[in-house]
Amino acid sequence: MSESIIPESELEEVELYHPKSWWTEKVFSQDAKLIAIQYGLTAFAIGFVALVLSWFMRIQIAFPEMAIISEGTYYQFITMHGMIMVVYLLTALFLGAFGNYMIPLMVGARDMVFPYLNMISYWTYLIAVLVLFVSFFTPGGPTGAGWTLYPPQAILGGTPGQETGIILMLVSLCIFIVGFTMGGLNYVITILQARTRGMTLMRMPLTIWGIFTATVLALFAFPALFVSAVMMLFDKLLMTSFFMPALVEFGENLTYGGGSPILFQHLFWFFGHPEVYIVALPAFGIVSDLISIHARKNIFGFRMMVWAIVGIGALSFIVWAHHMYVSGMNPYFGFFFATTTLIIAVPTALKVYNWILTLWKGNIHLTIPMLFCLGFIVTFLNGGLTGLFLGNVIVDVPLSDTYFVVAHFHMVMGIAPVLVILGAIYHWYPLITGKMMHDGMGRFHFWVTFVGSYLIYFPMHYLGFIGVPRRYYEMGQTEALYTSSAADLNVFITIAALAVGFAQLVFVFNVFWSAKNGEVAEKNPWKATSLEWRTPEQPPIHGNFGKELPVVYRWAYDYSVPGAEDDFIPQDVPNEKVTLAEGYSELGVEKT
């Protein structure tokens, strides 16, 4: 896959805005790379809050007699943990952080096409995070409605945080979506408009395909969440009845009437299911590239991988109601949504096969990023297969709303994408900081995180088979269900969870320690082909590339090409500049 005619550049380059003061250089920066780091640090900071909340939850579940937190606090913690992890951490990290850092570099652009808008996007996101965080300190505390925020309970008296917590949550989501839309338009337009010469769509690395498709999904999906948040705010503040039927609150008849709680669920999951893929698709893309680089082999079935990403993205808009099989919606929807949901398993399975077929006959370097990729395949496969239980409507009936669901989604969209994020940080850390991360700490971090997470979530599925419902503050005295062995299992899970939590502290330490004390990274330490490693400076400076933008001659997967001396050919190297291996007259052609 190389060489084709490279078009002449049609437009003059426009000079970037260069910062004039410390403030515009270091704080209100318009450089996508710095914005990416701002996004990343903010997301990790609020994500750390969510991680700590989970420790309290796990201790409460394992040792209910201690009552470390009250019922209300427990429900507030599960809500904030879920919402922060899904929206404010994962979405912001993949699109805001990785999207901003990687898109311009990997497509060969100097920056995003709208750098100013890009900056505003981050500051809007920060405000959303702060509004959410403030809700911890308001009267009544943050909302405890569950991250799905289902009405009517989200805005009624039996739920903690219904005074102000729920309002701040909804407002924060709206702000987040406004900020995301600014960033998201930027990512899409930069990919479509600002690719360098020769960078055809089918030469883009899968990382960019994943981020691109996920961003398109997000631009379509988030508006559904936006309207549902606005409507619920109206129901709460103006006593409208979008989602509120006639009902009674602790014996008192309320004035609501005529609304539909199920309408909210449709809107929420119309956003919520694509959201799963907004997180998964960038992870798919990144992991494809990491596997290819560290196995020194082209990704297997590249075109299939691209179409699978696009196909999964499109299908993800017609599967949402599989979250609602037992919601009381028309039961005949079950036939349709079970079918679409199981269809989506086919392209997803193909991706898994192709990752492993990339390893086949590869030259596998068991670097830390590769370890995280292997961990990703294990957890993603596990979570994907349990998705076949929950997607198949009748199998979902006994398992829905139990710990099986909790285990499933943590495995598939918690642990799996997080392993990719961590692997990607180890992979790109030398590019971003110019230093290598400490290897020993990194391997310790990997093994505890991967094995520990597996030990948390694999057995957890079986609590669901017993019938333990999720979102229970305590199990209570139920003879048939909660045998002492189930309580023991919960203790075991909690210990594993705390160990995994501890390993993350080692990771955070490593990130800061290595920035100062790490070994200086050689240029392109993993010998990758993609353009982000081809900048004159490492780390790249504002404007990314030197005087001339790179010109792209080949796809991003020319690893171990027969005839080339090195086992990789960067995308901006034309055939005639490739050093040939002994015995070859040109690439792929042996001397006769």
């Binding site: 896959m1 739920t159 297969l385 076949l388 017993i466 419902p469």
Partner: protein, 278 residues
């Protein structure tokens, strides 16, 4: 070390599944077909899990980097991709088809199923049986008051003989199919009895349903399975599956809506009389 840990994970997961002490409770309803679909899904997904991860582990052992090794260059293989797509599609269809057949059964209650209303509110259960006419009277959340906790429509003749159970224990007759009509007067709840394998949300403003036929006598706990506020985890109830004679005995002790109304009226008259005599 890497392949070793991968193998431990694969083998350990299979052994865990085979020997786990934590698995489904003994079934007490007609939905053994649901359990069968779960077993089928386990068998198929388990096989895929072992095969795919086994192959990955093999690759990690066989193609681990050495100084001399160089990877193959093979961009794609149409044949491999077509074969894998077809096999996966067949496998997925093999899971879906039986699943949909059982779902069709699940959403089609038999004609003879007795309608029983389970009514949820924060954070307890009430029940209503249709009485001799076999029809449940209409209700409306707006009718709810201290005197009329079920929100019964007093003008509906079908409601007069409805049996109202203000308590958290429901009795069912062994082997008689029932269609649960689910109603909430405040927030979402979910009527879930693990041993019956079935569940469905209660949604204020509408009536949802599912049906079962209890096949084993005994006591079973009702668990609320949809987050409904701070008392969610404590919202329990009980279903007692009785032999016909025990069931009839229990039934004869329950009061109809009409009887409850009359009682209330009597009490009110008595109070009035008492007040007057004072």
């Amino acid at each position: 070390m890497v392949p070793f840990i991968l193998l431990v994970i694969i083998i350990g997961s299979v052994l865990f599944h085979l020997y786990t002490p934590w698995y489904s409770t003994p079934i007490a309803s007609n939905w053994s077909s649901i359990d069968s679909t779960i077993e089928l899904t386990f068998a198929m997904t388990g096989a895929v899990y072992v095969l795919v991860l086994g192959f990955m582990t093999y690759c990690v052992i066989k193609f681990k980097s050495t100084k001399k090794r160089r990877a193959d260059y093979e961009p794609e293989s149409k044949k491999a991709e077509v074969i894998l797509t077809v096999l996966t599609t067949i496998g997925v269809a093999g899971l879906l088809a039986p699943g949909l057949i059982v779902w069709d059964d699940y959403v089609s209650p038999p004609e003879e199923a007795m309608p029983i209303e389970a009514m949820g509110q924060q954070w307890y259960w009430n029940f209503r049986l249709p009485g001799e006419d076999g029809i449940l009277g209409t209700t409306d959340a707006r009718n709810i008051s201290a005197d009329n906790p079920f929100g019964m429509n007093e003008n509906d003749p079908n409601g007069k003989d409805d049996i109202l159970i203000e308590g958290d224990t429901l009795h069912l007759e062994h082997d008689k199919p029932v269609k649960f009509l689910l109603r909430s007067i405040d927030v979402l709840h979910n009527f879930y009895v693990p041993q019956f394998r079935a569940k469905m949300d209660l949604v204020p403003g509408m009536v949802t349903f599912y049906w079962i036929r209890p096949t084993v006598t005994g006591n079973y706990e009702i668990l609320c399975a949809e987050l409904c506020g701070v008392g969610h985890h404590a919202m329990r109830g009980e279903v007692q599956v009785d032999e016909a004679s025990d069931y009839q005995e229990w039934l004869s002790d329950q009061l109809t809506f009409e009887a409850i109304q009359e009682q209330a009226m009597l009490e009110r008259d008595n109070k009035l009389a008492l007040n007057k005599s004072n």
